[in-house]
Symmetry: C2
């Protein structure tokens, strides 16, 4: 495949589907979110609602930053703060028919991007790891 | 540049030099490490000694995982645990004369890799972001 054709490929086949993506729900508190993040080992995950619509992305750093007091980490506040108040609302998103080139441009500055349909329904994520594997294949042949 | 030649390039010019890399020292406690990680916004950083020799890599997840008690996160234990006890000691490393191809192979599974000289002295890091920018350049021309 020429580089040109490769870059024009839709990202559809490279998406990690929603059922495999760890996430939390809006309304959950940051203590729950931190437990999910720590147990799954991910540093950032999507925030969805019960209809699987995307609302934001939340990271360990956003949560810890929120409870960093003047002289200690105020972890007792975690169960009273909602993810809604610390998450990133203006996150980067992509559609399943967007091209590999578009994905590559975005992944240069983001470890993963959320894939949504035209109703903002969460379909899955596209990660640097998956894209780099494809780039390697493309370059090694 | 042909793909073949590009992949054979040494990684030297793409290294983020040690003076620009956030890190902690062996012997530091995990409370200090968590503060550095939260303030710099990085999810994982190298652990060095005073001579800038590499000892390991420590992440927010390793620290939080360590203090996850049966019914709450035991933050008060952080100042009594050393980074030495939670860090990854068998981390991935690369030399400055290794090739781009070698770096790409490693970065598929690691967000960054530490660059050391033949005495295990820390020289800097190579990140997915830097490598993906180069891959993009290589493919778009
Ligand atoms: N449980 C695990 N098993 C194997 N390798 C693991 C792993 N957890 C992390 N890694 C490795 O570490 C990289 C960075 O993970 P991080 O959690 O910071 O950043 C992740 C995370 O924020 C998100 N992510 C990836 N897979 C996810 C999933 N199934 N659910 C939710 N978020 C996910 O996408 C980012 C980039 O992921 P990517 O795969 O490119 O890159 C991953 C992967 O190479
Ligand atoms: N302060 C900041 N400014 C701009 N963008 C930021 C940023 N912090 C994080 N990012 C973005 O998020 C990505 C993942 O960062 P993370 O801290 O999980 O994972 C980072 C971190 O563990 C480490 N790293 C990168 N630069 C570092 C530095 N100067 N000192 C220490 N560790 C560094 O290498 C991993 C991969 O970095 P990479 O640049 O490929 O990918 C970075 C970058 O695209």
């Amino acid at each position: 495949v020429s580089s040109r054709d490769f870059l024009k490929l839709p990202i559809k086949d490279f998406i990690i589907p929603s059922e495999k993506v760890a996430h939390v729900q809006i309304g959950n508190n940051t203590e729950h979110a931190l437990l999910v993040l720590t147990k799954t080992g991910y540093s950032s995950i999507p925030v969805l609602d019960m209809k699987f619509r995307m609302h934001g992305m939340v990271s360990v750093q956003q949560i810890t930053d929120e409870i960093l007091g003047l002289d200690r980490i105020e972890y007792e506040r975690l169960d009273s703060i909602k993810v809604d108040d610390v998450m990133t609302r203006d996150f980067v998103k992509i559609h399943e028919n967007d091209t590999f080139q578009r994905a590559l441009d975005l992944l240069i500055n983001h470890p993963y991007i959320c894939v949504v349909d035209y109703d903002d329904m969460f379909l899955g994520i596209l990660t640097r790891r998956v894209v780099m594997k494809q780039l390697k294949k493309q370059l090694y042949l």
